[in-house]
């Protein structure tokens, strides 16, 4: 009899419903996978519930996604993945410019504005790490004390120092390439003496080197401080050359491609430049790697095509008594079976938006009404220019270097923090290039043959894009809600997003535009940045218009704090109101500074896993109900 690859570790839904697990984890993304792996290593029995198909564990499955991406007309960050009607995903092109009071419910996300945000997430095995770029920056110590230091946003209940050992663990789990020497800024420390990252840095691209020549040493005066800029390599969860000095000389063995059949080992980064959404050689980390290691213990079962629909609570104790899950057979056809899954501990790891959506749809806004509030993301201002010479665009990972020197400073009392990434993939993010460059050359410039080729070389090969990643602090008015008027095919209420960019962030948008103009001047580049008033994300500041894009770094909807009065979870991501419930992931982060959220959420989830295991590895273990 043929055994489907997935059959080897999936569990029959009825069997799962008649089992009491040690933990049920909703979501197979990086948070859920890390917690599953940690718990499984302690011998605990875990059920992972995934909304997507889950059928993505052979090299053939993977390449179906690669080729879907190659064939997609729109190369958006979910274009590699099948968008099932029963577990739909937000797509950035669904975002439209909203008029006052207008609501956009055409996509999966319902956008109420006033700011329309084009951020997405990915509902497949491995979650949004399936489309992430792989930047693995740490947050700065100051980011954990935003309110105390700068009077904006919030403080974390834990310090950078508390989290530091977990950052190192996360760097091992994700397999981070980078050089620590390039990360010594903004108060960052790396624990023990002589710590190195698991793999050597991704080499700086030629573009990085050209820009560094003109930018290094440039000084910027902001507020009462002077900053000297330097182009630094960016740490990233992408396989490169292992560092022999890692772990006191033990070295590091990279984790390669996910494949239950032995067909492919996975490559090191070879510079295909389509990290987002999918690396053709599986050099980029995605959470399936962690999940497969978890499953290999024999203690983790996967239930795919299953969307959590309701969290059930015992009203007397506040304890969670089960999670109702709708399992579908066909990705698109209506119809499902609802079952309740039970465990000693429940972990919601479905990302900041979906965690809040599920809790709110279950009628659990919290006594302080904070569930879903303080939704955060990074605001991205994109700037782009033509360098005087070809600089080797479209080689290397999307970004290999950035400018980090302004990630913190006294100016944060008045305006938001910012970091800058230098893009090796040309103007793609801003203009849809190089495809749009081709249309332009053919349709508008009437080029063909050798002239067309040369024309593209003259433009595309000189493209530089610098993104400005800007902090948006927690604000209770930015939120996820649900509304029974907006449901999906399974009858689950969809997330409704209300978002506004604060003045604090807009100040930095304007500042960053000014600074990038200077950067391009120094590099002798022609600035081509322009912002369309009809585009979603249009904002104005002091009479100037900009377009701010989302960063897909959803965070803050169930943020952690020191007190049940003003937070949803404690510093271990345990719900204040439901002792056997953990809400895991970026939703717990009180600030996100200027770091992509994944490394930090991985660190807090590793810490959470310790806490859960400590509670569960006790006299009683999971047992079948009938046993």
């Amino acid at each position: 009899m043929t055994v489907q690859a997935i059959d080897r570790f999936s569990i029959d839904a009825d069997e799962a419903a008649s089992t009491v697990f040690d933990a049920v984890i909703i979501g197979s993304g990086v948070s859920g996978a890390l917690i599953a792996k940690s718990l499984a290593a302690q011998g605990l029995k875990v059920l992972v519930v995934e909304a997507g198909s889950g059928n993505d564990i052979t090299v053939s499955d993977y390449e179906e996604n690669v080729f879907r991406f190659y064939g997609a007309a729109s190369k958006d960050n979910n274009s590699a993945y099948y968008n099932a009607k029963n577990a739909p995903m937000p797509r950035d092109f669904e975002t439209v410019r909203l008029r006052d009071g207008q609501i956009n419910d055409h996509g999966y996300l319902v956008q109420k504005g006033p700011f329309e945000i084009d951020s997405t997430y990915t509902r497949v095995l491995g979650g949004t790490t399936r489309h992430w770029e792989g930047k693995a920056l740490r947050m700065l110590p100051d980011d954990f004390r935003m309110h105390s230091l700068f009077g904006h946003g919030r403080d974390w209940p834990i310090s950078y120092e508390t989290l530091e050992p977990y950052y190192r663990q996360a760097e091992a789990e994700l397999g981070v390439s980078g050089d620590v020497e390039d990360q010594l800024y903004g108060g960052l420390t790396f624990g023990e003496e002589g710590y190195v990252l698991p793999m050597h840095k991704m080499p700086a691209s030629y573009l990085d080197q050209v820009l560094a020549r003109d930018i290094d040493g440039m000084t910027v005066d902001v507020a009462d401080q002077s900053f000297s800029l330097k182009v630094r390599t960016t740490p990233q969860a992408r396989n490169g050359i292992p560092n022999k000095a890692y772990a006191g000389g033990k070295g590091f063995v990279p984790n390669g491609a996910v494949s239950v059949d032995q067909a492919e080992m996975g490559g090191r980064c070879q510079g295909n430049t389509n990290c987002v959404p999918i690396c053709p050689v599986q050099a980029k980390y995605d959470a399936r790697r962690t999940l497969m290691l978890a499953i290999a213990t024999g203690n983790v079962k996967l239930l795919a095509r299953s969307v959590a629909s309701k969290v059930l609570v015992d009203s007397a104790s506040g304890e969670i008594t089960g999670i109702e899950v709708k399992t579908y057979q066909d990705p698109d056809q209506p119809g499902f079976t609802a079952r309740v899954f039970r465990a000693r501990t429940y972990v919601l790891a479905a990302n900041a938006v979906e965690n809040a959506r599920l809790m709110l749809a279950s009628g659990l806004p919290g006594q302080n009404d904070l569930m879903g509030r303080n939704l955060m993301d990074h605001g991205y201002l994109l700037t782009w220019a033509l360098m005087p010479e070809p600089i080797g665009v479209m080689r290397g990972p999307v970004c290999t270097s950035g400018i980090e020197d302004l990630r913190t400073g006294n100016y944060r009392s008045n305006m938001a923090a910012v970091r800058f990434s230098i893009h090796n993939d040309g103007w793609g993010w801003a203009t849809g290039g190089p495809y749009s460059d081709l249309y332009d050359a053919v349709d508008r410039q009437n080029l063909f043959g050798a002239e067309l080729r040369q024309g593209l070389i003259d433009t595309v090969a000189r493209q530089v894009l610098i993104d400005c990643m800007i902090e948006i602090p927690a604000d209770p008015g930015n939120r996820v809600t649900v509304d029974s008027r907006y449901t999906d095919q399974l009858g689950n209420m969809r997330p409704v997003i209300s978002f506004e960019i604060p003045q604090y962030t807009l100040e930095t948008v304007a500042f960053s535009r000014g600074l990038t103009k200077q950067l391009y001047q120094r590099a002798g580049a022609q600035d081509h940045s322009s912002y369309d008033p009809m585009a979603p994300g249009w904002v104005t500041h002091n009479g100037e218009g900009y377009v701010v894009r989302g960063g897909n770094h959803w965070a803050g909807t169930h943020l952690m704090g020191e007190s049940p009065k003003d937070s949803v979870v404690n510093d271990r991501q345990q719900s204040w109101e439901h002792a056997n419930l953990y809400l895991a992931g970026a939703g717990s982060m009180p600030t996100i500074g200027t770091a992509n959220t994944t490394l930090t959420l991985a660190a807090i989830c590793l810490r959470t896993a310790e806490d859960i295991a400590a509670r569960l590895v006790a006299p009683t273990a999971a047992s079948a109900l009938g046993a």
């Binding site: 043929t2 055994v3 053939s60 390449e63 050359i241 063995v253 059949d261 067909a263 492919e264 070879q270």
Partner: protein, 352 residues
């Protein structure tokens, strides 16, 4: 088993040179089949062939490390190092000649012969080996005066190992007189299975040989090795049997996921193409000549990498992409001589 015994250090070096040639000689065979697959089709097949090709590159590097360890000098640009296909393998297997051909049942049959385990030896096979022919590989090969024939690559390496044992008993650690700085370390290679290791003494030398044997034919007759990695012979067998092996499976009875093969989704390339097959002045001829020139440069670069400049292996990756691109250019293009064939790289490199 061959009766040949390695008795001197020079003989050992000659055998290791032959081993380099042997490992390298398989790579054009595998790459030709690999790139003849129309991109996006035969996904399992593509990766099965690719995984083996990559491991042959690992084996080549391990042999270079062995040769360096005993004071030899790897030279991949020597005349005759790259065979003129079709060719008998440099270990003296003579019951079949290996040719450059498209991904096809014939190709897989040849690959299975190349990787066949010693334990599958038919009774009479080594008695019926034909005599060496003049057209066979010669550069750095075993002494022409003494006929050597091995039924399988495994037997060949067994002879190398026994020679190593004998010489070590005689010379002790003096056998490993090579400069350790010439060794290429694990940072230059990784895979799901065993990685690259440096050779500086008897223990590491044995490990290197074991790895080659286990990844190749699975010398112990097991489908999977200790690290859970599947041997080349069984990898290829999956293409014939249409299913992946799982741990615990019996020989010839894989029970894993399906391996779908579409022999038609393959470029119709000319087998064992030669430059002279391509019309003079044609673009395919220019591309094929360019391929050979770049491949020759690439082998020269590898030679430097294996003689003290391992960093050049990183540069060599760029060359590998250029070679891949040229291969696809050739294979997508009809030769234009009225035949049904497309072009293909000829690998006529530094012919002896």
């Amino acid at each position: 088993m061959s009766l040949y015994k390695i008795k001197t250090l020079d003989e050992l070096k000659r055998h290791l040179n032959a081993a380099m040639q042997l490992e390298h000689a398989t790579i054009p065979l595998y790459l030709t089949a690999l790139y003849s697959i129309v991109p996006g089709t035969n996904r399992e097949g593509f990766h099965i062939v690719r995984a083996v090709a990559v491991e042959e590159m690992l084996h080549l590097t391990l042999v270079c490390n062995l040769l360096n360890a005993v004071g030899g000098h790897p030279d991949l640009s020597a005349p005759g190092f790259t065979p003129n296909y079709p060719a008998y393998l440099p270990d003296g297997e003579e019951d079949f000649a290996a040719g450059l051909q498209r991904f096809s049942p014939d190709a897989i049959e040849t690959f299975l012969k190349i990787e066949r385990p010693a334990s599958l030896k038919p009774h009479e096979s080594n008695k019926r080996l034909r005599k060496r022919k003049g057209a066979l590989l010669s550069a750095g090969h075993t002494d022409a005066a003494e006929e050597e024939h091995f039924f399988s690559i495994g037997e060949f390496y067994k002879a190398v190992e026994m020679g190593l044992d004998d010489l070590y008993a005689e010379m002790g650690d003096a056998l490993f007189c090579g400069d350790p700085a010439l060794q290429v370390g694990p940072e230059y290679y990784y895979s799901g299975g065993g990685g690259l290791l440096t050779v500086t003494d008897m223990t590491s030398a044995k490990k290197a040989l074991d790895l080659i044997a286990e990844q190749g034919e699975g010398i112990t007759g097991h489908i999977f090795d200790e690290d859970g990695e599947i041997a080349h012979y069984y990898r290829f067998q999956q293409l014939v049997l249409g299913r992946f092996y799982r741990e615990g499976d019996l020989h010839n009875h894989p029970t894993g996921g399906e391996v779908e093969v579409d022999w038609n989704a393959v470029y119709p390339i000319k087998p064992n193409a030669k430059i002279s097959d391509f019309p003079e002045g044609s673009e395919v001829r220019a591309a094929a000549e360019s391929f050979n020139a770049i491949y020759a440069q690439y082998l020269a670069l590898l030679t430097r990498a294996f003689n003290g400049e391992p960093n050049l292996l990183i540069d060599a990756v760029g060359d590998m992409f250029r070679l891949k691109e040229l291969t696809y250019q050739l294979m997508r293009q009809p030769i234009g001589d009225g035949s049904e064939f497309n072009a293909a790289p000829t690998f006529e490199i530094n012919l002896a």
